[in-house]
């Protein structure tokens, strides 16, 4: 299999090219712009059959994508940060209308202040909108996840939109070696899109998006919640099937040397890559350290995480965004919730790191494991809520 040198954005653009959606409506925003730009060149060169709509804002990007999806076609868009924020109004409409829109989302800090670098605050703020959230560690995963997301989102049991993320600049703009499958294989894998409904079926006119009074909203939203619960099994099925067909199996998270580990870190995205290097090093020194790289944040794999981490002595959850709830970041609060009902559970601490692209280095991760070791030994937690690398604390 040939190895290609691709950045995260290029990898996602290639996935889009092979998916060959009917409509892409996109608007530029750093660091996601390249996905649309590269794709625009594919359109100009006749490499795809896509109607490419250069909309005048991200709000219109998601609105037009939603309109196209409701017209029964595969429709996609891509964005980041403020662009996602401008789409917020439409995101929960897309999930309520059960439209399987797949969107590459390059994680960048939400303003203010304005910052173009990586953190997870943009997608974390959109966590309650009924979209699937799938995080990618590197360019390979960005490519694999985008393709799998089509199968997951379009599955009859799911029919929910999905965002597939990469870390802004760190992954989106850094070149790595990755493999790509041939166009025909991807086309066959994702298959023909069979929409649940279509506005273009003029012989069977439908009304999409009626107003709900108090008597129907709750049932419509419950249906979204149920679909999100059902998505977990579909994600696992698709991940296994992808493994059989293409050689890499995916699950809800990656278990990195958790077997026999006493201390572990939970991390999302590229930071997991850095943590893996630290884990290897610690394991060589005889420290029983492991890493849980969370891939799927929505739906949140409660039981599976509890099972994987239940026997640890101490676990640190790394959040690349703050909830400003004075009770820990979003991943921390959900992991802690997952462990609450367990008879025996590890000590849990939270580290908020990397906001606005602040670097997270090997030494920082080593520091976390060192703290975990101390907690594992003494059973005592100094601080549950911590920040890495903020000057003055």
């Amino acid at each position: 299999m040939a190895i290609y040198a691709k950045t995260g954005n290029e990898a996602m653009a290639e996935a889009l090219r092979q998916i060959n959606p009917d409509v892409v409506a996109a608007y530029p925003i750093t660091p996601a712009t390249e996905i649309a730009m590269i794709f625009a060149q594919f359109v100009a060169d006749g490499l795809v059959d896509t109607e490419f709509v250069q909309v005048e804002s991200e709000h219109s990007a998601m609105s037009a994508t939603l309109g196209a999806a409701a017209a029964g076609v595969r429709a996609m868009t891509a964005t980041s940060s403020q662009g996602l924020a401008y789409m917020y109004e439409i995101l929960p409409i897309a999930s309520a209308l059960r439209l399987p829109i797949v969107m590459p989302e390059v994680n960048r800090a939400i303003s203010g202040p304005i910052n173009i670098h990586c953190d997870h605050s943009d997608t974390m703020a959109a966590r309650d909108f009924g979209w699937l959230h799938i995080f990618s560690e590197n360019a390979q995963e960005a490519y694999d996840n985008t393709i799998q997301a089509i199968k997951i989102a379009e599955d009859a049991r799911v029919r929910l939109p999905a965002m597939v993320t990469t870390d802004g600049f760190i992954i989106s703009h850094c070149m790595e070696g990755m493999e790509m499958f041939d166009d025909k294989a991807v086309k066959e894998y994702i298959g023909e899109y069979k929409p649940e409904y279509s506005l273009l079926d003029v012989d069977n006119p439908i009304t999409v998006g009626a107003i709900d009074l108090q008597d129907y909203y709750f049932e419509h939203k419950y249906a979204v919640a149920e679909a999100m619960r059902a998505a977990k099994d579909v994600i696992l099925e698709v991940g296994r099937d992808f493994g059989k067909k293409f050689g890499r199996t995916y699950g809800l998270f990656e278990d990195y040397k958790l077997d026999g580990a006493e201390i572990a870190i939970v991390a999302l995205g590229s930071t997991a890559g850095t943590a893996k290097a630290v884990v290897d090093d610690l394991r060589e020194k005889g420290v029983k350290a492991g890493l849980l790289k969370l891939r799927v944040f929505r739906p949140f794999p409660l039981e599976e995480i509890a099972k994987a981490l239940g026997n640890m002595k101490a676990v640190a959850i790394l959040d690349r965004s703050d909830s400003y709830n004075s009770a820990g970041g979003p991943v921390f609060t959900e992991v802690r919730s997952a462990m609450f009902d367990m008879e025996k559970r590890p000590k849990l601490i939270n580290y908020i790191y990397g906001l606005g692209g602040r670097e997270i280095c090997l030494a920082d991760i080593e520091g976390v494991y060192s703290e975990l070791s101390s907690i594992a030994k003494t059973g005592k937690v100094k601080n549950i809520y911590n920040y890495i690398g903020v000057r003055g604390i």
Binding site: A96, L97, R98, P205, T207, D212, D215, E219, H220, A223
Partner: protein
Amino acid sequence: MSKLMDWKELRAGDVLPGGTAEEFNTGDWRMGKKPVWHPEICIQCLQCWIHCPDSSITVDRGTSKMTGFDYKFCKGCGICAQICPTKPKSITMENEEK
């Protein structure tokens, strides 16, 4: 239609088959007056039909002739009577028993 659907029946999300409002009665909005047709004066100009906000002027699709009112929907706004060009009017608003 009067029975509320449970969540499992809402498969496609917020999507409805067209025209279900035809089952909804707005005729009970009328406040004591309803339009009455005087066919013997009517010149079949169809002004009432093209101006009715509630699609309540019935027409024969084959002959394009007005045939009366759909009192299930008619809200008694009186636009049809107001706009009727004949003298005397072919549509008058008259008291109705509730």
